[in-house]
Symmetry: C2
């Protein structure tokens, strides 16, 4: 990434460059000075947007997690489609997004695994957002009579927990197994069947 | 454990002592010489039963895992009780056994987490045995008309995967959460509902 100090120094540019720097140097070696150098600015300029290295790492973690949320939100809030088929599409999209992150860019994925452990608050907020999306799909199904749940937030949490093997980064090594798609489909079918009215 | 060389040196005595030694010294420091010393025998006597340190570690891992299998097998092969209630009892017993192992003796649990990573063949065989027990309960329910499954082994695997948060040692830290029992019950109810005929 060539220095391009002429462009305005936005938080987004800083975060994109931070991701590049993390990918190149790894999470233990990357510093704010490296980020500033890659941007062709002083480290003071970076600190004006992110007051500490910790704040910058937190923001980059948040941005990485947020990327899949937008696409999942589109499925959750789609005006058409039955709740059971939305649920299936949502779980598939989540698994696919995670597998791609782990498979296409394993170094960056490993980096983020380190950052996730550091920023448990950011991770918890991310997981709540995902479970909230699941809850909206389930509530829609309950209203339409296709799904049954006495306690929608608890059901959403149960669906999320039951499918953990297919989105928790702890299981990333399993995602390379030749039988993983079949196993994912079996769990998804079981869970959706368990919610049917 | 005082030396008691007068007792016959059975594999079971060697394994019980090895567990003690592992608990005391940790998995990286414990040696066959430590085990022999605790037993009051020569290390050659230990090697007559277990030809290498690796064989001894594998056998002690196997013995640790086998302990919960016996109790779960009793539930799986009980002559009375409906399949859905057996399934619930089996999943509860598995979670309780794991939580006790992790909570009552965290040092030994951490030791075994290291051994599990070393002996993936032993672990795979153990998991197959558990999934096989689940399969027998499900097959019984299918025969009695209380459960439905086109492919019983696949359904057993799906139940095991869907409840992973409550038996996979990777999640041991979560088992201390005040809401874990509620979350376990929600997942179990969802999964059993998903299998009902």
């Amino acid at each position: 990434m060539p220095p391009a100090a002429a462009e305005p120094l936005t938080p987004e540019r800083i975060l994109a460059t931070t991701e590049e720097v993390l990918r190149r140097f790894g999470p233990t070696k990357a510093t704010v000075v490296d980020v500033a150098r890659a941007l062709g600015v002083s480290h003071g300029s970076v600190y004006r947007h992110f007051p500490s290295k910790a704040a910058l790492r937190e923001a980059v973690t948040d941005r990485w997690l947020a990327r899949s949320v937008v696409m999942l939100e589109e499925i959750a809030s789609a005006p058409t489609g039955s709740a059971p088929s939305k649920l299936e599409a949502w779980l598939e999209a989540l698994f696919e997004a995670k597998r791609h992150k782990a498979g296409d860019d394993p170094e960056l994925f490993a980096t983020y695994t380190v950052l996730l452990a550091e920023n448990s608050g950011v991770v918890d907020a991310h997981l709540s957002e995902l479970i909230d999306q699941l809850g909206r799909i389930i509530a829609e199904g309950v209203a339409a009579g296709s799904l049954a749940a006495d306690d929608v937030p608890a059901a959403a949490r149960a669906v999320f927990d039951a499918t953990g093997r297919f989105h928790d980064p702890q299981y990333a090594a399993d995602w390379l197994s030749p039988t993983i798609i079949t196993e994912f489909e079996a769990v998804t079918a079981l869970v959706i069947r368990g919610l049917r009215a």
